[in-house]
């Protein structure tokens, strides 16, 4: 077995690496440009050009540089790039991956897959055809995908006799278009990929062009990321316990993180101090990390946090809501469906969502926001301005502030079917309560006993079981039954009837002041949950069925309570007499139970299954750290 000598001299002369995508309309010459770039810089494998030339001769067609990278038989036969190819290219101390994205409209999802990986783009326009719809669409998508460095190459200048005027017209038109997207091209270069003009060497036919060649322009793209200078965003990817260490992993999206930092997890509002950074085969272990790095951290206390949360510093928190407005490009086979449930994936957070509103279709020809539109069917390859509403609150940012935490994809069944950038946070109904909960959580003063300590001692996590449904369905009876059973097992349980609050804590309230009643109830529940208790409660006081009670729908009541006790788990149990399905979603449903002991056992089984209740007391409950 061989190992390399560690004291060997440093021979690595690659400064950095960069991903560049080549985009543009079909037949505007992307693959040819790429082939030419490699051939003229002598970076092709030996015999590759000769091999392709021989095949062309044999098949009786003219050699094209494009054939060098169109790998699939079908691609060569049809002369069209079907899928993105990564090619590798080293020049002047930088390693490039050049991504050749297909220009054909049919393969737009492949173009997007290619461009989404890139830090910079070469955008090709055919001098003969001028600026096409697809040229604009690609410009729009590049700006949505976060590719901010763009150089425009006006190709096929040989077909317009290297006309300076033709070039100037195209340059003017396209610059005007890009400026609407807040994109300023670094260079606009007249070129002929086929003839090699201004690709690797300056063109004698276009001496009037004083700017760089395409090859020279590559070196002008900056690979320096500004993301390290932004506030910290560290989306939590997973929690590992392979050995004694409990390691939280993820990749820093922006900012810096160091040992000793006080960090906050959103949306759970938990906070802790970073104790160590963990790494394999790094000696001494790192003490700080920055944007781009995959890392592991340990905390000074064992708090329950899950994949999907965003770690930040307290001074600069991400936004939290269930609802946001976004520009979405849609790649699904079927049109975007407002009736359908999708999965939104934002950084590492995954949650069910639906499209609450489709405001307008964003056309590359019609970028300004003030246009009225009646057509709101979003078809494949279209971009739309939409409002997304998730089933649970998530932490995010606006795309203009943060790249990684400001964008998301939508998953339909098994497939990523669209991607979007967040343009606006929409305050949902729970916004006020959420802010209250957040501020209260940060200011909360605790003793030395953590929730984890309490959970270990009591054999269950602190949680809330909410019994909901119409009157006289036995909710209170069931609550009492469960309380007795659990106390008999030695668990730390309390039955809280909201009626108890009305006579005391709520005595100053008018009967109609439902929101305030719920807020006070939620705060009491939060307080009790912090003692480690498993709280069992009905919502009788809040539901509209009898006289003086509130007129809020049950789902709104549950949501408000959930927001205030967040992130403690809430198990909802719906009880009814009729078989008609309830309009609200519950974790468990029972219809007119006759055997309440059995029903109680079913609820306890669900608590065990969710990792709230340990199998036997004294055991550490099996908590699900991940979704």
């Amino acid at each position: 077995m061989a190992t390399c000598k560690t004291d060997a001299p440093e021979t690595v002369d690659v400064r950095d690496r960069m991903n560049i995508v080549i985009v543009g309309s079909v037949d505007h010459g992307k693959s040819t440009l790429l082939g030419r770039l490699y051939a003229d810089t002598g970076t092709l494998p030996e015999g590759k050009v000769e091999k392709i030339q021989a095949i062309c001769k044999q098949q009786g067609k003219e050699f094209e540089y494009a054939f060098l990278f169109d790998a699939f038989l079908e691609e060569q036969q049809q002369g069209v790039t079907i899928d993105t190819a990564r090619t590798f290219f080293q020049w002047a101390g930088r390693q490039y991956i050049i991504i050749d994205a297909p220009g054909h409209k049919e393969f737009l999802k492949n173009m997007i897959s290619g461009a989404a990986r890139a830090e910079a783009a070469l955008l090709l326009i055919d001098a003969l055809e001028g600026v096409k719809d697809q040229s604009k669409r690609h410009g729009l998508l590049l700006s949505m995908l976060g590719v901010k460095q763009v150089t425009v190459v006006v190709n096929k200048m040989d077909l317009v006799d290297y006309s300076r005027e033709t070039f100037a017209l195209i340059e003017k038109e396209y610059r005007a278009f890009l400026s609407q997207l807040d994109v300023t091209p670094q260079f606009v270069i007249p070129a002929s990929a086929k003839r090699g003009d201004n690709i690797a060497t300056p063109s004698p036919q276009m001496a009037w062009h004083t700017g760089p060649t395409v090859l020279e322009s590559l070196a002008q793209f900056s690979s320096e990321s500004e993301q390290a200078e932004q506030p910290l965003r560290f989306p939590l990817q997973d929690v590992y316990k392979f050995d004694a260490r409990r390691i939280l992993t993820g990749r820093i999206a922006s900012g810096r993180l160091k040992v000793g930092d006080q960090v906050v997890f959103s949306p759970s509002n938990k906070s802790a101090i970073v104790q160590t950074l963990e790494a394999f085969n790094v000696d001494p272990p790192p003490t700080q990390a920055q944007a781009g790095q995959s890392l592991g951290i340990t905390l000074d206390e064992q708090i329950f946090v899950e994949r999907g949360e965003i770690v930040s510093h307290e001074g600069s928190l991400p936004l939290v809501s269930t609802t946001f407005r976004a520009n979405l490009f849609w790649l699904g086979r079927r049109p975007l469906d407002m009736e359908k449930s999708y999965l939104v994936r934002l950084a590492t957070h995954e949650v069910e969502c639906r499209v609450a509103a489709i405001h307008r279709i964003v056309d590359a020809d019609n970028l300004s926001l003030d246009q009225q539109q009646t057509n709101t069917v979003v078809r494949r390859n279209e971009v739309a301005d939409v409002t997304i509403q998730a089933k649970a609150p998530l932490a995010f940012d606006l795309y203009t502030d943060f790249e990684t935490t400001g964008r998301f994809v939508l998953v339909d069944d098994y497939d990523v079917s669209g991607g979007g950038i967040i343009t606006e946070m929409v305050a949902d109904r729970e916004e006020t309560l959420r802010i209250e909960a957040r501020q209260r959580d940060f200011a909360w003063i605790t003793g030395d006993v953590t929730l984890a300590d309490r959970a270990k001692h009591y054999g269950h996590r602190a949680a809330l079981v909410l019994l909901i449904g119409p009157d006289t369905t036995g909710k209170t009876f069931l609550a009492k039954k469960m309380e007795s059973m659990l106390v008999a097992e030695g668990r730390h349980v309390y039955m809280l009837d909201p009626e108890n609050l009305r006579r005391g804590l709520d005595a100053d309230l008018q009967e109609g002041d439902a929101r305030e009643m719920i807020r006070r109830y939620g705060e009491v529940a939060r307080l009790l949950i912090d003692t480690g208790v498993l709280l069992i409660s009905t919502t009788n006081s809040f539901t509209p069925s009898t006289g003086l009670r509130t007129n809020l729908p049950a789902d709104q009541v549950v949501e408000a309570i959930r927001t205030l006790v967040h992130p403690a788990p809430v198990l909802t149990v719906y009880m009814s007499q009729e078989t008609t399905p309830s309009s609200i979603e519950a974790d468990l449903s029972f219809t007119g139970p006759e055997d309440f002991t059995r029903t109680a056992h079913d609820v306890l089984a669900a608590l065990k299954q969710k990792g709230i209740l340990a199998e036997t007391i004294g055991n550490q409950p099996v908590f699900q750290f991940s979704i």
Partner: protein, 265 residues
Amino acid sequence: MRHLRQLEDQSVYIFREAYKHFDNLGMLWSMGKDSTVLLWLARKAFFGHVPFPLLHVDTSYKIPSMIEYRDRLAREWRLNLVVGQNKQALAEGMNHERGRVECCTALKTNGLKLLLEEKGYTGIILGVRADEESTRAKERYFSPRDKNNDWDFRDQPPELWDQFKTSFPPNTHIRIHPLLDWTEINIWEYIKLENIPFMDLYLNRGDGTRYRSLGCAPCTFPIKSTASTVDEIIEELRATKVAERAGRAQDEGRGMELLRKDGYM
């Protein structure tokens, strides 16, 4: 060095996504330089642990010292090694003289298929790299295979912003490619940087040849080389214009496109 850490960060992220989303995950290990770097990156991602089995599809024609190296690392790094083999094809006498593509299909593609069927893996991690060969240049990091193991390269899923394809219909599986963006030189630079143990078949041991790519003994040929250290390999690769897999016979003609469409690695 910075570029190697960038590659490492991306690969580690892919590993952790794979581990999060796939209950029944396995990683192919051919003991070559790429899949050994892959193994090292897994240890990086999981802090010295490898929390899934390593799968070796044994064609029985591997160079013997590869098997010794395999068993030794498996012991030292406490790896869960699973060896699969298309025993029926071997019993029927399959070898490269019946055709290289036929032999690769039977012993590697179908050997892998049998192993997948037997163990029911839903995610397979592989060390393929985009710069090796032109169909691999078009791969996704997470690449679905249908129930026949076929790769539908005409309709690959979109892959953006590190949101990968991690859900899939029953009876299909996902191939996961953490090394897709690495070049051959990057592999050697990283081996040097991390001091990763590798097989000395890759070095010139005095006879003026070394292996640049390792596979089955009958179909893998050494190249002329004086490189006897990692630094010399890197230097040699910077100067060469010969393709890495020039010594791999099954790549000739359209061999790889046809093999990979049907589920070859």
